[in-house]
């Protein structure tokens, strides 16, 4: 041991002169810009999906009702309450947040004598509510997928000269990837008119348990082949994923399940109906509403007879929706399952002609009216009366029926911007392509492209197929030559469709006038029910509500033996009709059970 080793340590005495390094006031020390401090929640952006609760490994989050936050489409009305006795500030809740509403401030000191204060709902009135600094997820939402698995489709030139189905359906790999993105919040269920168990059947896809998936589908919907293809899928607009990416392809996943269960297996999985009850119900109209009610009632052991005016069952699903969107064999499979439950469908039987309402009433315990909206509306603009102007629904029906007299001119104009307008436009385009080798179709709609009532895919695919889509055009006159032959449609530019209160009040720029050439004008602006089958007496006896048969929330009409469901009372939508069908069947069952149906 040298002297140096004794003395050297003393050299650090110089540190005596250093200023102290301790922070004198630790409470006012600002944390770093990205510090994971106390939570904030943007109440308006939050949708109450509860993924924050699901991911919290500490069980620190409860979803609770909050005053001022209403339960509505796509928003549960719940908001996260965080227990700071459990939170570890890992911020996984922030990372998983589907809307980005949940964030963190860099605030980190909070003194309170009330322990309950530390169970709090961020976003109400915490002092750091408006503080900008704090943890933000730098990489976006990475803990669940944001991009939808694309659906395989026939290319435009593979499909334009035929009526083959366009969507090929998901492969298993695609479906699993898509199903994986679902966070199982269940916000979609409330939006689905039939309240299908969407998260559960998506889970079945993930688990590759198609049998379970199919059983789940049939609990709420006997039209999964149909809805898996052409459902208006409003559920997807309520999907939590839509806020920072694509909504889950709920519709395609539904189809994927039915694609993977053969018909015979479906009947097997559903099992036999309950024993016969001896009751019988007549249903008028073999569309989605009527057949859903028929399915439910048959499952309950009721003898069901469905009366259908057209040669084949399916209603608008067959005679309205073109084959390239919904192939007939897919529809046939759904109907086959329903028939396998013992439902009798009497086609080509017109009520009011072949059989009278009164007879149905006499011979059954109840009658359900599900007649749909089979008649097309016209614009009644000048020139719209007479040959050369057709209604879309009539033409679509004739095309399905294989009517050889369907007019297919080289050029045609469609009025309307909804799905029906596109259905007829794209069907007619196919017929033109087959007949002339080219498409000559113009579609005019009041709406601008961003606000078309039709699904977005219809616009994309219509464009691809060569349909000339003209937006913001208001029809004024069907042009005819001196012989009365239709030559085209005169339109004005639309400057606005709705007034300030959102009411329909189209305004035109009359200086922007165009004439669209076409030997045929097809009107696809709306539909109506044909209630003439009721007869004058019953029409007079029934109560009505603004032109529709009045029903209560349980589908009862003012006549105790008569129930009504579907488009005719609720407006056009397959899944709504399915939901109605269930409700009507349930009400009928209850009524039968309580002996309410008095003849």
């Amino acid at each position: 041991m040298s002297l140096r080793e004794v003395l050297t340590p003393f050299s650090v005495w110089k540190r005596v002169l250093d200023a102290p390094v301790s922070i004198a006031d630790p409470f006012s020390r600002e944390a770093s810009e990205h510090y994971r401090g106390f939570h904030k929640n943007d109440m308006e952006t939050c949708i109450g999906c509860g993924t924050c609760e699901a991911i919290c490994q500490n069980g620190a989050i409860d979803m609770v009702p909050v005053e001022g936050q209403n339960t509505e489409k796509g928003d549960s009305g719940l908001r996260p309450m965080i227990d700071y006795g459990r939170c570890c500030w890992c911020a996984l809740c922030v990372d998983i947040c589907m809307t980005g509403s949940l964030t963190m401030s860099n605030e980190y000191t909070w003194v309170d004598s009330d322990p309950d204060a530390f169970r709090f709902i961020p976003g109400l009135n915490e002092p750091w509510k408006d503080k900008q600094a704090g943890y933000k997820r730098e990489n976006g939402r990475v803990l669940s997928g944001t991009t939808r698995s694309p659906m395989g489709e026939l290319h435009a030139n593979e499909r334009i000269d035929n009526f083959n189905e366009i969507c090929v359906g998901y492969t298993r790999e695609e479906a699993i990837l898509e199903a994986d993105r679902c966070v199982e919040c269940g916000l979609c269920v409330a939006t689905c008119p039939a309240h299908m168990s969407i998260p559960d059947y998506i889970a079945a896809v993930r688990d590759q348990d198609y049998d379970r998936g199919l059983q789940l589908l049939y609990e709420t919907n006997p039209f999964s082949e149909v809805c898996g293809r052409i459902c208006t899928h409003k559920c997807e607009t309520s999907c939590a994923a839509v806020h920072e990416g694509d909504a889950i392809a709920i519709r395609w996943l539904k189809r994927h399940i039915v694609d993977n269960v053969p018909l015979e297996r479906r009947v097997e999985l559903i099992g036999a109906p309950k024993p016969a009850t001896g009751k019988s119900v007549a249903i008028i109209g073999a569309g989605p509403g009527g057949l859903t009610a028929a399915y439910d009632l048959a499952r309950e052991g009721v003898k069901v007879t469905v009366y259908e005016a057209l040669p084949k069952p399916g209603g608008m699903m067959r005679y309205g929706i073109p084959e390239y969107r919904l192939p007939y064999d897919a529809l046939d499979r759904d109907i086959a399952v329903i028939e396998a439950m013992g439902v009798t469908i009497k086609c080509a039987t017109v009520v009011g002609v072949d059989v009278q309402m009164e007879d149905l009433r006499q011979s059954h315990d109840a009658v359900i009216l599900a007649i749909g909206l089979q008649m097309g509306r016209g614009t009644r603009i000048p020139g719209s009366e007479g040959a050369g102007v057709e209604r879309a629904v009539d033409l679509l029906r004739r095309i399905t029926a294989g009517d050889p007299t369907v007019p297919v001119p080289e050029t045609a104009v469609v009025i309307g911007g909804g799905n029906v307008a596109f259905d007829i436009a794209r069907s007619m385009a196919r017929l033109q392509k087959i007949k002339y080798g080219r498409v000559g179709l113009t579609l005019t709609a009041l709406e601008d492209r961003a606000h078309f009532l039709a699904d977005k895919e219809e616009l994309v695919e219509g464009d691809e197929e060569g349909v000339l889509i003209l937006d913001s055009r208001g029809p004024q006159e069907v042009m005819r030559d001196p012989s009365g032959q239709v030559t085209g449609l005169r339109t004005w530019a639309v400057t606005s469709i709705f007034d300030a209160e959102g009411r329909f009040a189209p305004a035109y720029d009359e200086s922007d006038e165009q004439i669209h050439q076409g030997a045929l004008v097809i009107e696809a602006i709306g539909q109506m029910a044909d209630t003439s089958l009721l007869g004058d007496a019953l029409t007079e006896k029934l109560e009505w509500n603004r032109g529709r048969i009045k029903i209560d929330s349980e589908m009862r009409t003012s006549e105790p033996w008569l129930f009504a469901a579907g488009d005719a009372v609720k407006g056009p939508d397959v899944i709504n009709a399915v939901a109605d069908g269930h409700r009507a069947a349930r009400t009928v069952m209850e009524a039968i059970a309580q002996g309410e149906v008095v003849q």
Binding site: G50, M63, E72, S76, G186, V189
Partner: protein, 176 residues
């Protein structure tokens, strides 16, 4: 390298197939009775002198405990996970504390946490982490730690949560 070694030692020690995880990590299963001989040979002639860890995996559904002896050859940067499957009801294995004295600690922990016994291992029955534990060995899969915590500790009252889907149903369509 790992494959050569496996081929070389398989006949003597009845090794199972070699499961290669990555270039320098593989796993192999062998009968419990062959373990001592195999580890000794690995250590003394193959350079696997470092016992990285010894632990157990409870395959409750299969009625087996898996013991994993993680062996490392530092010079060649090779790690071999040597697996022995034990009957879960017997749950007994030869001690290797004489090969690696540090193994006694692992074995003591395995006794306490999994109830796997290693006859002859020093201080095997001395408490290691737990004190006065009388329940199932807690790292066994059939010991439910959540239930235990719920029975043992009181939850501060006042917490209620709601499932969004059910809550929306109650608010928007209570009748279904």
């Amino acid at each position: 390298m790992m494959r050569d070694l496996h081929a070389l030692l398989t006949p003597r020690h009845a090794l199972g197939p070699l499961e290669i995880r990555r270039e320098n990590l593989a796993f192999v299963t062998l009968p419990a009775s062959n373990l001592r001989g195999f580890l000794t040979e690995l250590r003394d002639t193959q350079g696997f002198s470092h016992l990285v860890l010894l632990t157990a995996v409870d395959w409750l559904e299969e009625g087996q405990f898996q013991l994993t002896y993680m062996m490392n050859n530092r010079a060649r940067d090779l790690t071999l996970g040597v697996r022995v499957m034990l009957d879960r009801t017997t749950a007994q294995m030869d001690s290797i504390h004489d090969l690696w004295p540090t193994a006694a600690t692992y074995q003591r922990e395995l006794k306490e946490m999994f109830g796997i016994t290693f006859p002859g291992s020093p201080r095997l029955d001395e408490e290691f982490i737990l004190e006065g534990w009388t329940d199932l060995p807690p790292y066994r899969r059939d010991f439910d730690s959540l239930a235990y915590s719920q029975q043992t500790y009181a939850e501060r009252p006042g917490r209620v949560t709601h499932d969004p889907r059910e809550y929306m149903k109650s608010k928007l369509y209570p009748g279904g």
